[in-house]
């Protein structure tokens, strides 16, 4: 399966869109969570600082400055990692006690909050740490400031943020991979359907779709399409049956008429003998049309060739060319056969002979005097199957008409009246080729017509 085909498929593109929207939503939720987390963390920090200040004030009120000094000393010696830092100054702003420098460079926040950066010794290394601080009057001109570093909060926030980003990337990757696989699965089904439909186009409307064991939407689609094919086939059969019945029913009275006419002609008084001959000839033409029509129907509606005999195409074509050589000679047309190697083909010799004579008959009919016709038996490059090419120097068939000429009773407008024929010759050619699992193609011979018959 081609990656490009999958990437371009509707399912994949849909899933990519879906995953993108999903990721954006997840991201938004995560951002809200992150903001909430940071906010509550800082609020807790702030609250703890305010609480500590209040404790200091209580201590000051109870035990005066000495108590505060004692309290701060106690706190400093406690093993807690995230501890508070203190500064107590007197009226003149001189440091009385505490472990913060007198005037670090503050950044002022709202509501009397201050922020500053200070180097701390951590495992013997000097690390710059951000602090959040709040000053407070203790009374008697003494001022206290409690600070707390928030590196841990930042760290945790960063951890949360990284986790969120990873979750999002994972969502995207998993979503798109999943999308790729489900798209390729859907595409496989569509491709199978495509193959099945192509098979039906080749083999004719009698075939049905076989989409193996799929109960999903492709299976449902196949069922509907099979119903459609059934209707189509029924309609086609109906139309065909009507024309067959007409041909069949008219054939018998026509034959009787022909027999009566020939009796009439053989009577001794010979009334209007010439006219009778003409009527008999026209009867024969009608009969041959009906016969051709019924033969085409029999070939198309019945089973295709099963088994068949070995037919040597080279010899068969020699016979065809030999049969038509005098006619070509009479019309001053050069008829050449090129069949260097014998080629065996499974088939019915009579039908194949009929097919090639029909093609050659047309070629002779449409090629002007001093023209040429070549019949070539070619070996296919692949070594499988046989190709027969019959080309002429006649007027050819316009591109737009090439499909139509295989239709029953269809005749190229310009040849109507000019050339005799019932418009069934090429229909029969196609029916015979298809009966042998082969195809017929028309191409331009620049100028003229090329008729290709491909047989398996």
């Amino acid at each position: 399966m081609q990656i490009r085909a999958v990437a371009n498929s509707l399912t994949f593109r849909y899933i990519v869109k879906y995953v993108t929207v999903l990721s954006a939503t997840v991201f938004l939720l995560q951002a809200v969570f992150y903001v909430y987390f940071s906010y509550t963390s800082f609020k807790e920090l702030g609250d703890s600082v305010v609480e500590e200040l209040e404790t200091l004030q209580l201590v000051y009120r109870g035990q005066a400055l000495a108590g505060v000094e004692q309290y701060i000393a106690d706190q400093r010696s406690s093993p807690s990692v995230n501890r508070f830092y203190y500064l107590v100054t007197d009226k003149s702003g001189t440091k009385v006690t505490g472990d913060l420098p007198v005037a670090p460079r503050y950044r002022e926040f709202d509501d009397g909050w201050l922020g500053f950066e200070m180097a701390l010794q951590n495992w013997g290394e000097s690390v710059d740490v951000d602090f959040l601080a709040r000053p407070m009057d203790l009374g008697d001109g003494y001022k206290a400031m409690v600070a707390r570093d928030y590196a841990d909060i930042v760290e945790r926030a960063e951890l949360v943020f990284r986790t969120l980003v990873r979750v999002m990337i994972a969502t995207l990757i998993l979503g798109i991979t999943g999308g790729f696989f489900s798209a390729s699965r859907a595409l496989k089904q569509v491709e199978q359907l495509n193959k099945e439909i192509s098979r039906i186009v080749r083999a004719g409307p009698g075939q049905r779709l076989q989409v193996g064991g799929d109960k999903g939407y492709i299976g449902a689609l196949a069922t509907v399409m099979n119903q459609m094919l059934e209707q189509m086939e029924a309609l086609m059969q109906g139309v065909r049956r009507v024309s067959d019945n007409i041909a069949h029913d008219l054939r018998t009275p026509l034959t009787r008429m022909r027999n009566n006419l020939s009796q009439l002609r053989d009577r001794p008084d010979r009334v209007a003998g010439g006219q009778l001959d003409q009527i008999i000839e026209e009867c024969d033409e009608l009969l041959s049309s009906f016969n051709a029509l019924l033969r085409i129907s029999a070939l198309e509606s019945g089973n295709r060739l099963s088994g068949g005999h070995d037919v040597e195409l080279g010899a068969l074509l020699r016979d065809v060319v030999e049969l038509y050589e005098p006619l070509a000679h009479e019309r001053d047309i050069a008829l050449v056969l090129d069949a260097p190697q014998p080629q065996l083909c499974k088939g019915e010799a009579d039908l194949l002979f009929q097919m090639f004579t029909n093609i050659l008959d047309n070629a002779i009919k449409y090629t002007p005097p001093r023209g040429h016709i070549r019949v070539q038996l070619r070996t296919n490059a692949s070594g499988v199957g046989h190709s027969v090419l019959i080309d002429d120097s006649g007027p050819g068939i316009p591109l737009g008409e090439r499909k139509n000429v295989f239709r029953r009773f269809y005749r190229v407008e310009s040849s109507r009246g000019e050339h005799p024929g019932h418009g069934l010759g090429l229909s029969l050619v196609q029916a015979i080729a298809q009966y042998h699992y082969g195809t017929v193609e028309l191409a331009s011979n620049h100028p003229g017509l090329q008729v290709w018959v491909h047989l398996p």
């Binding site: 009796q263 016969n291 005098p326 006619l327 002979f353 008959d361 002779i364």
Partner: protein, 229 residues
């Protein structure tokens, strides 16, 4: 010619009987397979015309029975089915010729006469020489001459003339020529056969007063002295 017709369609059968009698032949008409079987066993005929699809006994069954019981009267099968398979099957079971309905009466008559002629030729051994008036064909040396003039023929022209000479004096249809001279059973869109015949005519009739190869309108050809009405 004494003909047994086994045909269940009364209308078609009556018509064939009338036509055969008008052409100077005698004819017995059996209306189904079993009646045909009794008639075939009870008397001898020159040729038999047997319909393919019949009640009680199928045409092919009847032919199988006749051949098994040692009856080798030539049989022409009539059939509404024109399939290749049908034709091959019919000939396989011992029919000598096959005609698809509906058919032109001239075609049936011509074929019956040829079938009759084939068995009634004097000396069933293969002849070595064919003679029609002053035209003669030496089958061993493949040599043709008219009076004392040798006639040079292409292989297919030779086969064509041979067939016409074997059934000299009889009407031979185009379809019969295609089947027996060319060996293919098919419907030509144009009368290609006519061109071959006129070539042959050029060679055998051109320098002679009496034409031997005549076209029978609406039927085919006849080799032999000109018939005077």
């Amino acid at each position: 010619m004494n003909v047994l017709l086994v045909e269940d369609d009364k209308q078609v059968g009556d018509f064939i009987v009338a036509e055969l009698r008008a052409a100077g032949h005698s004819c017995v008409h059996a209306l189904d397979g079993e009646a045909g079987q009794q008639a075939a066993v009870g008397a001898t005929y020159d040729v038999m015309v047997i319909d393919r699809m019949m009640p009680r006994m199928d045409g092919l069954e009847l032919i199988k029975f006749l051949r098994k019981s040692g009856n080798h009267t030539p049989v022409l099968v009539l059939s509404a089915l024109g399939d290749v398979d049908d034709r091959v099957q019919g000939l396989h079971w011992g029919a000598d010729d096959y005609l698809v309905k509906p058919f032109a009466m001239v075609e049936l008559l011509a074929r019956l006469e040829v079938l009759h002629r084939r068995v009634s030729l004097p000396g069933t051994d293969a002849p070595t020489k064919l003679v029609v008036e002053d035209l003669s064909m030496d089958l061993l040396r493949q040599y043709v001459q008219r009076r004392d003039t040798p006639i040079n023929l292409q292989p297919r022209e030779y086969k064509l003339l041979e067939y016409l000479m074997r059934y000299a004096g009889q009407v031979v249809t185009r379809a019969m020529l295609l089947e027996h001279v060319w060996g293919y059973h098919f419907d030509p869109q144009t009368n290609v056969i006519d061109v071959h015949v006129s070539r042959l005519r050029q060679k055998i009739d051109k320098d002679f007063e009496q034409p031997l190869l005549a076209t029978v309108r609406g039927a085919g050809y006849r080799l032999g002295p000109e018939l005077v009405d």
